[in-house]
């Protein structure tokens, strides 16, 4: 089990972890399991400004195309280039090498859930 301490989650199933001035964004284990085989991601350009809750891109699995939302506001400093050839990293390691973008100038979002609250939220959704 990866260390999820310090990670916070949106109800749209993205996670964010802040490390100094940089925040890293990905999707949750639950989200990847619901999507199934990820085959393509459409990601924002470096320098793009995102508001909290704004659409940051699209993730496509064999089953469907879904929108991704930024859990916090900020400026995109990097999109995970590895995912171009290895979109399956999102399935294999959603909290690690399957990260999606990095942001700076982070504007926090008080609506985010900690791990425990997010797990309770997911539990509530699947019933």
């Amino acid at each position: 089990m990866p260390d999820l301490s310090g990670m916070r989650f949106a109800e749209t199933h993205e996670w964010v972890k802040q490390d100094g001035a940089t925040a890293t964004v990905g999707i949750s284990e639950y989200a990847q399991s619901q999507l199934g085989d990820v085959i393509y991601l459409e990601l924002p350009a470096v320098g793009q400004q995102l508001d909290a809750g704004a659409r940051l891109g699209v993730i496509e699995s064999v089953k469907a195309a879904s929108d991704l939302y930024s859990p916090v506001g900020g400026e995109v400093t990097e999109a995970n280039a590895e995912l171009k050839d290895h979109p399956e990293y999102v399935n294999q390691d959603p909290y690690g090498k399957g990260w999606i973008i990095k942001l700076r100038g982070v504007k926090d979002n008080p609506k985010l859930l900690d791990q425990k609250a997010y797990e309770a939220f997911v539990e509530g959704q699947s019933h």
Partner: protein
């Protein structure tokens, strides 16, 4: 009213194997057990096991009725052989695509799509002069697919029937793992293999025996997710996506299923459509970038809407993205450039011949 999806006799097996289940055609079916990619690869490279018990089976005992409702000339279909055929309405629209089995007792067994089985049954019954000329036996039968380059060897070890003599689109009655079966050399994956029909009570025993015996050759249970990506690579039409009651067999590229020199329902309308000329035809295309075409996306050319995508996905075997679409006949030639409207951008695509994938021929 609560409508409950039906369960196949293998439902508990799927749950035990950890399958993600989905509703399909009124049935709760395995979507995937592991990943669609791995299950797809197992079928292309080794062997995959499918529960196809949701498929419907209709037995037609009146030969002249069968001749009237299917597009093929069944008088040429020998006992023990199988043909792919269509059921059409009076307008020439496709009611269903089916396999017809010429059974030893002289009846014809139609294997029909899960979601269509009740509608097909009512349609055929409404065309009958006598009753009972058609029986719905789908809920008595289970169906297990064994598909992939190692499928034939695997099933052969579990049966005394000589499978070498069972040609593609032929069947024998025999036993597999001591279970009485119709052993049919057919499939919906583009690979060699069998589809095994057995009684409901025997389905679990057959399923487990195949999984056990196939372990050494890397057998994997495979769900509807892989079934869809496999059939798309093989260029096989999916009813409800690529063909339906508003498409006729000519535009769907299914001319080869028509015996227009015999009478069948829809024949006259199909001949009229042919004489009038087609306004659209189904083509295969590959994407020239990494975007993924999906059912319902628009096909564009020079900013104009010219067609609609009917199926599309990644091709795990080929390593690029593929789809099928209806386009004007003038744009159907392989090599023609098309655009697929993906979220407002015309993604580049090129018409290619169907099927996308053909299995290597055995030496």
């Amino acid at each position: 009213m609560v409508v409950t999806a039906a369960r196949t006799p293998l439902y508990e097996e799927h749950v035990r194997l950890g399958a993600q289940m989905t509703n399909f055609g009124g049935w709760v079916m395995p979507l995937q057990y592991s990943t669609i990619r791995d299950e797809h690869r197992a079928v292309r490279e080794a062997v995959g096991l499918f529960d196809l018990s949701h498929m419907g089976e209709l037995r037609i005992t009146d030969g002249s009725l069968a001749q009237r409702v299917v597009t093929r000339d069944l008088s040429r279909l020998k006992e023990g052989r199988i043909q792919y055929a269509l059921l059409c309405n009076e307008q020439g629209g496709i009611i269903d695509d089916v396999l017809v089995y010429a059974m030893a007792d002289g009846s014809d067994l139609l294997v029909v799509n899960a979601g269509n089985q009740d509608g097909d049954f009512e349609w055929i019954r409404s065309q009958a002069n006598q009753s009972p000329a058609v029986l719905n036996v789908g809920r008595e039968w289970a169906l297990v697919g064994v598909q992939g380059p190692r499928a034939v060897g695997l099933v052969q070890r579990l049966t005394n029937s000589d499978l070498g003599s069972v040609k593609y689109y032929a069947f024998v009655e025999g036993t597999v793992a001591d279970v009485p079966c119709v052993i049919s050399r057919t499939g919906y994956t583009g690979e060699d293999g069998f589809e095994l029909f057995c009684g409901h009570a025997d389905a679990v025993g057959l399923w487990r025996a195949l999984l056990d015996e196939g372990q050494s050759e890397g057998i994997r249970p495979a769900g509807l997710g892989a079934r869809d990506t496999l059939r798309l690579e093989a260029g096989m039409r999916l009813y409800g996506n690529d063909i339906d009651a508003d498409t006729n067999p000519l535009e769907a590229g299914l001319d080869w299923t028509l015996n227009l020199d015999k009478d069948f329902i829809g024949r006259d309308a199909i001949i009229r459509a042919r004489e009038a000329g087609l306004s659209r035809v189904l083509v295969g295309f590959k994407m020239l970038d990494r975007s993924i075409p999906r059912h319902g996306y628009h096909v564009v050319s020079d900013g104009e809407l010219v067609g609609t995508v009917t199926s599309g996905n990644v091709s795990f075997t080929l390593g690029y993205n593929i789809g099928m679409a209806y386009v004007p006949p003038a744009m159907a030639e392989p090599g023609t450039r098309l655009g697929v409207d993906v979220r407002g951008t015309a993604a580049p695509a090129e018409v290619v011949p169907l099927p996308f994938y053909k299995r290597p021929h055995p030496k």
